[in-house]
Amino acid sequence: MIIEFGHFTLVLAFMVALVQSTLPLWGAYRRDARLMAVADPAAVVQFLLIGASFAALTYGFVTSDFSLKLVVENSHTAKPLLYKFAGVWGNHEGSLLLWVLILAAFGACAVWFGGNLPERLKARVLAVQGSIGVAFMAFMLLTSNPFVRLENPPMNGHDLNPLLQDPGLAFHPPFLYLGYVGLSMSFSFAIAALLEGRVDAAWGRWVRPWTLAAWIFLTIGIAMGSWWAYYELGWGGFWFWDPVENASFMPWLISAALLHSAIVVEKRESLKAWTVLLAILAFGFSLTGTFIVRSGVITSVHAFANDPARGVFILGILGFFMGGALLLFAFRASVLEAKGVFAMVSRETALVANNLLLAVSAFVVFTGTIWPLIAELVFARKLSVGPPFFDAAFTPFMVALAIILPVGAMLPWKRAEIRRAIRPLRGALVLALAVGLLVYAVQTGKSALGPVGAALGAWVVMGAAIDLWQRLGRGSVGDRLSRLTRLPRADLGKFFAHSGMGVTIFAVAAMTAWVTEDIRTVKIGETFALGSYDVTLAAVNKVEGPNYHSLMADMIVRKGGVQVASLHPEKRMYPVAGMPTTEAAIDQGVFRDLYLVVGDAQDDGGYAVRSYIKPFANWIWGGALLMALGGILSLTDRRFRVAAGARRSEVVAVAAE
């Protein structure tokens, strides 16, 4: 009964979304306040209905209702409770329900927090948001219904894929979806602005928090996924340039560009058309990601469902929204007249450069991801594009971005003198070069990766610190520090986000360049050297988990005779899913991770063992968290919080025009 109720509320939500996407739009066109007023309650009701639907499906999973096809395919009575919850979105249909739930939640948030939006703009934003909901709920109800019942329920389910039964992965998809779907708000604002024919500083101020929020969620989601890949997928790789990873990375790059260009709109009323285009493209890449994951057109290890009918449907959604939006842009962009002018050397130009590099790097990722498809369709060549290509083609743009970042961040608006702007950065430049040279001298292999990464990282972090220092004004150290708390949060956010980027750049280079690897067969009781550590395989035991059998090794790591860690890498077998997994054991440290993997028993009685020292591993995700923290600080900046005040002065400004 509860399941039918959930199914029913989903259909109702679809109906409400239909109303939400049409009446307010018509009302905004006719300037009919009553029709526009439909948008607010519709958005809230739609959210509540989808929420009920989601709760019903969750109930089905938690109570192991095996009359539901989805539960049978993705759950099992012996599965731990956490993964019964996570199982709701660990599959195509359920994750889609989460997708539309988040979409509706963002719509409802626009109602709750958007009290200061002009009526017509809000009606249009909610209508566009509603139309996305219509498309995706139609997709669900027609091709991927999560509420399909079975006539003859089996005694037990097929279990969730063992690789997904992991706390890191349980919360990875919700974050990523919050990011993907959050970009729908920027998209809705862009379309509403085009319909309105007006983009001004206030628009920039309304769009930026949504973009920031989406970008923060994407940052955390990608970092979680990468961390999960690091400890779960075998040998400690953290990024595979897989099509599905790229699908999450492209919107991240574009939304990073968008939240920078929205600053220019907000502060200087320039780059308007470009910002609107970025907002459209950011959501376009989100939809492209959805298409890649769910259509099976591009072969990926991550692919979700390989159903051609679903692929065609999503392609239709993508074509409708992107085609429509770009057409609208082509006709209306010329209306968006830029106001602020700027010289060749200025903060604006630096942000344009930032946007160009981010957009081009996203384009490189996009080209590489779909190139196998193009090569086959157009040139009849079957080829692959993998990590070596992306490393070579993508990295130069990031290096260029890191080089210009500290300079651009300190340039004044409108007109700047490059020499004066660079003066405070001389120390950082000297220090960065010194770090690079030092690293080059110390490291054993003479590869450029480590030194360049270290120099760039130091340059970006030092640059961010000097920028912050300058903002604290003049005077003694104590005077400056006392002003730290009074600084706008956005300035602190900038510092954390930029230094996070520097930390991640350094860590990626360091871990890639200086990893120590050892692969060998080890007998029980045997000790081998790993860098400056001695590793002993003390024992291998059979252990029973709740829904798996495990072969667990007992390994002792010593340094100079002193025990550093006792680690237990496992090789698990999940009998219901019929799948083996390797569970690495990691001793996490500030400067290095010890990473041990145990494999199969060999003919001679030993075990295959892989061991690694991964320097600065945690700094990769630490940098990402710093970036997210910077985003959160910016999001809580005073100018976004005191929205009411912003509205009043905005009314005056509009009247003055």
Binding site: E245, H302, V378, S384, P387, A393, M579, G599, S649
Partner: protein
Amino acid sequence: MMRGFILALVLVASPAFAVQPDEMLTDPGLEARARAISQNLRCPVCQGEDIDDSNAPISRDLRIAVRERLVAGDSDAQVVDYVVARYGEFVLFKPRVEGSSWLLWLAGPLMLLAGVGIAVATTRKRAVAAEAEGLSDADKTRLAQLLEK
């Protein structure tokens, strides 16, 4: 989203375990070259894994073949040619810069050039127009209000 490597594992669930200790060469120089080569070769039956990481039996065969060629004295390029001759350019993770693949490699740089061109042209035009007009008084008050906020 990294719904990971599931399919690959399901498809090729075999007891093998990427590079095996017994496959490895005793000469560290040759072994390092073998590893580097394997990391750029795609497993022909998996979903986007290189043969160095892959568990598939065919990857094991390829790893061993790569090492045999190296021991026989082939250069890195010759080893790669040897594999490509048998499995096609599909096994290369980094497409060679030839024929239509030029487009792939030049896509980024070309777009950057185009973007810089457009940006410079637009900024110039606007700067010239602004020089002629300057800021109107209304713009100035508006600007002051915005900066205040």
